[in-house]
């Protein structure tokens, strides 16, 4: 597989990986294509303009080189961003930040943005906050996908 230097760098030294203690939001998603699973944790704080931003972020991922690299880079992209902005991080932005991905690996990058959206969903719902319609739809889809994969992985 031909990966860019950026991808390999992130794969070699992933940023912000591991469990987070007492996170404000957790997102767990799975990818039906080949079954990779990602868990993302966030801590939310306020910036100077009193807007809510992602203060801390960590991930755990089971997946290929591209999945690990996209997981790592999304933590960089999301850190310090407002929740609104973070929700808008899309796969194209992630792929670009990595200097490109092999075509067959583009699907791995969706995982990261979905996990982030899920973590934000989790934070909003825990705090009884209003959840944007699009996020609600996304959540439903992600939830179904994850169930399918976890079932597959539990097979002995």
């Amino acid at each position: 597989m031909l990966y860019t230097k950026k991808v390999i760098d992130h794969f070699k030294n992933p940023h912000n990986f591991g469990k987070m203690k007492n996170p404000d939001g957790v997102g767990r998603v799975g990818n039906i294509v080949c079954g990779d699973v990602m868990q993302l944790y966030i801590k939310v704080g306020k910036n100077k303009k009193k807007k809510e931003v992602i203060k801390k972020i960590k991930f755990e991922t089971f997946g290929c080189v591209a999945a690990l690299a996209t997981s790592s880079i999304i933590t960089d992209l999301a850190k310090g961003k407002t929740l609104e902005r973070a929700l808008n991080i899309e796969k194209a932005e992630i792929v670009k930040a990595l200097g490109g991905l092999p075509p067959i690996k583009i699907h791995c990058s969706i995982l990261a943005s979905e996990a982030l959206a899920e973590a934000i969903y989790d934070y909003l719902s825990k705090n009884n906050r209003e959840i944007p319609k699009t996020l609600q739809v996304k959540h439903k889809r992600n939830h179904q996908g994850l169930e399918k994969i976890e079932k597959k992985w539990q097979k002995k």
Partner: protein
């Protein structure tokens, strides 16, 4: 420190042995004749190809006239399946293959299915063994061919070829075996093992790429796939690749001479590596049988991590291996061999194949045992699954 470069993917391909390179050399620029030419250049090439045929045949107890040179094991397998199917279609249209065959058998069979043939797939047990009794049950009046590989490319399982051959012989059905992984590595006798057709490849046993062969028992009719000048007894028209064939033959000679010692040496290293991995790393399991496998094959599942990542991690550390993970396959599909033997999808994605070879040394094994636990630990630290 110089970066390590340890190749443990001999089941994918092998380097050409230096002694093989040497005998091939003159056939590129000095002895370059076309075997079909009547002048001395051509005759010289013709003689050396026939001499090579003898050497290749020698390794499996066949006659020289029963060996057809082809360009790859894929071609040989295509010729075996399609060639027999078309030659025998008036007798019947039923073919039996095992569920752990190489893609080129599976794809040839499914192409034949589209041409009106019927394919039955034999299941295997949890080690990958085919049960000859099952074949007996599957054979029908219209069965024309059974094809079961000799040794599996992923898990190294060695099939009971002799017994399978005996079942086929008794039923009057032709038996083909794909021996790409075993040829030159373990003893084969086409007569004792009741084999009618056998595929072998040069680049898996220290010969050059681009040459392979199909053994076709005397009297067995095969319809050619390539028509033209009538090379290879009319079964495979194409200008003969003399240099490669000479190399292939030399590789056969070397394998024959060194086989016994190599099996012992490599299986010792293999067992050391397996037990070392089990000692150093938790949550691992061996895929395939612990004893009845090729001397050079190891296939281990590392739970909670994904194979492509593990391969890359090891590549960075200077160790080249392969995996059955869906993520590493071009079709994003998990290894069908591993799922046929009942390995769980999660474990398949974390499976690694390490295949040893002629240049593998004890120090290589030691190095792998030093870096592999680290690589696994690192990926497990990133994994969301229970550790």
């Amino acid at each position: 420190m110089k970066k390590a470069k340890i190749y443990l993917d001999y089941a994918a391909t092998t380097p050409v042995d230096k002694r093989v390179v040497k005998v091939m050399q003159p056939f590129f620029d000095k002895k370059f004749g076309n075997t079909m030419s009547l002048h001395s250049f051509g005759q010289e090439a013709k003689m050396v190809v026939e001499d090579s045929r003898e050497k290749v045949a020698n390794l499996i107890g066949a006659k020289a006239s029963e060996i057809i040179f082809t360009s790859s094991a894929t071609e040989s397998n295509n010729l075996a399946l399609k060639g027999i199917a078309f030659a025998k279609k008036n007798k019947g249209r039923h073919i039996i293959i095992s569920s752990i065959e190489h893609d080129c058998i599976v794809e040839s069979a499914s192409w034949l299915e589209g041409q009106g043939f019927e394919i039955s797939k034999l299941s295997v047990d949890r080690y990958g063994f085919v049960d000859p009794k099952e074949i007996k049950k599957l054979i029908r009046k219209d069965t024309i061919l059974v094809s079961v590989m000799h040794a599996n490319n992923e898990i190294g399982t060695i099939e009971p070829i002799k017994e399978i051959g005996a079942v086929c012989k008794k039923a009057g059905v032709l038996f083909h075996t794909d021996a790409a992984q075993s040829f030159g590595k373990i003893p084969i006798d086409v007569n004792k093992m009741n084999i009618d057709l056998l595929t072998a490849s040069s680049h898996k046993m220290y010969g050059p790429k681009g040459v392979a062969c199909l053994f076709i028992r005397e009297g067995v009719k095969v319809e050619p796939l390539l028509h033209g000048g009538g090379h290879e007894f009319g079964l495979r028209s194409s200008t003969v690749n003399t240099a490669a064939i000479v190399g292939f033959a030399k590789a056969c000679e070397l394998c024959k001479k060194e086989m016994k010692v190599e099996i012992k040496r490599i299986s010792t290293l293999r067992d050391e590596l397996i037990s070392g991995i089990f000692k150093e790393i938790k949550n691992v399991s061996l895929n395939g049988h612990s004893k009845k496998r090729l001397a050079n094959n190891i296939n281990i599942a590392f739970s909670f991590i994904e194979g492509e990542s593990l391969i890359m991690q090891l590549d960075i550390l200077g160790v080249a291996v392969s995996t059955g993970s869906a993520c590493s396959s071009r079709k994003l599909k998990t290894s069908s061999v591993l799922s046929s033997i009942g390995i769980s999808p999660l474990k398949i994605n974390g499976s690694l194949r390490l295949s040893l070879g002629r240049e593998t040394k004890k120090s290589d094994i030691d190095y792998v045992l030093k870096v592999l636990p680290k690589a696994v630990k690192k990926l497990r630290a990133i994994s969301p699954f229970k550790k």
